[in-house]
């Protein structure tokens, strides 16, 4: 019981830390004038790796909703799923078009591509769309964020004192 609670607490903390890091990384990477082009590009690639980790962590949910999308999934789960699929497409577009117009990462690896306005336009368009999609993504998960933030101090108490703490996640409830 203690170990299960500890693992669940660890998982929630990992989720929160990774999501916060992703959010901050996106905000910084989306401001290339602030960071300069080199940091913008390398941060973009790191962001892609972090998104992949985020997806792997939430794999059970992805598979579950994919299987039940047209059958038993709730309306909220469907909206969330469609939103996440759009975000995935946007991030893929941003990273790919970013590589196609790269001035630091690709030349560093010895590849030089001709600048193409199509990729430039698409990169900007997808970045703008991603800001809005992230807004919706955060809004959909706002309750979880607020609840987790409220209970954050309890997470750092010893496991024994958590016995009275209310459940945070589905796994906690189980």
């Amino acid at each position: 019981m203690k170990t299960h609670r500890s693992k669940s607490r660890q998982r929630t903390l990992t989720n929160l830390a990774l999501d916060a890091a992703l959010f901050i990384a996106f905000l910084i990477a989306a401001a290339p004038r602030f960071t300069g082009i080199a940091i913008h590009e390398w941060l973009g690639i790191a962001f892609g790796a972090a998104v992949m980790t985020h997806l792997v962590i939430h794999w059970t949910w992805i598979v579950g909703v994919t299987r039940q999308f047209f059958r038993r999934a709730t309306g909220a789960a469907r909206i969330n799923y469609v939103l996440n699929v759009l975000l995935f497409i946007m991030f893929t577009v941003i990273i790919f078009t970013g590589l196609m117009i790269s001035e630091t990462v690709l030349p560093w690896s010895g590849i030089r591509l001709e600048r193409d306005r199509f990729w430039i336009q698409l990169h900007h368009l997808a970045s703008d769309a991603a800001v809005f999609l992230i807004g919706f993504h955060v809004a959909v998960h706002w309750r979880w964020i607020v609840e987790t933030m409220h209970r954050l101090p309890r997470f750092f108490r010893p496991v024994e004192s958590l016995a009275a703490a209310p459940a945070l996640t589905q796994e906690d409830r189980r």
Binding site: A31, F34, H40, I101, R117, F132, V138, A139
Partner: protein, 128 residues
């Protein structure tokens, strides 16, 4: 091993998107929906002209000045970092904040309305 498969599946899904993008590029259809102003600038050689042959260009700083700014948003104006441009971070944060406030507010109102509309539950009385 399980994680590796998951990563491969994610990469496969990403390659589908990339393939679609490349196909879109090949069709040339996308050329038609690029903004006219940008096309005109590009065709006039401004976009290309901003880049010197060695890949370096003159430093241009632009504020948030609409279409012209959008065109200059190419990596050209972004090569050297500038702390003053933290305004971009703040702007995106504000947009996200407004969306969150709107969606969370709207969902709260919708929940309250639905609760009001739903008929009150019959009170459980004594069975006998």
């Amino acid at each position: 091993m399980k994680t590796l498969w998951r990563v491969l599946i994610i990469l496969a899904a990403a390659s589908v998107v990339v393939a679609a993008l490349v196909a879109l590029r090949q069709t040339g259809w996308a050329e038609t929906w690029l903004p006219d102003a940008d096309r005109a600038h590009f065709e006039a050689g401004i976009e290309r002209g901003r880049f010197a042959p060695d890949g370096f260009e003159r430093h241009e700083r632009g504020g948030l000045t609409g279409e012209r700014d959008r065109i200059d948003r190419g990596h050209g104006a972004e090569r050297t970092p500038d702390a003053r441009d933290i305004i971009e971070v703040v702007r995106n944060l504000l947009i996200i904040g407004v969306i969150v406030a709107l969606v969370v507010g709207a969902s709260l109102i919708a929940r309250r309305l639905l609760r009001r509309r739903s008929p009150p539950r019959a009170e459980a009385g004594p069975l006998a």
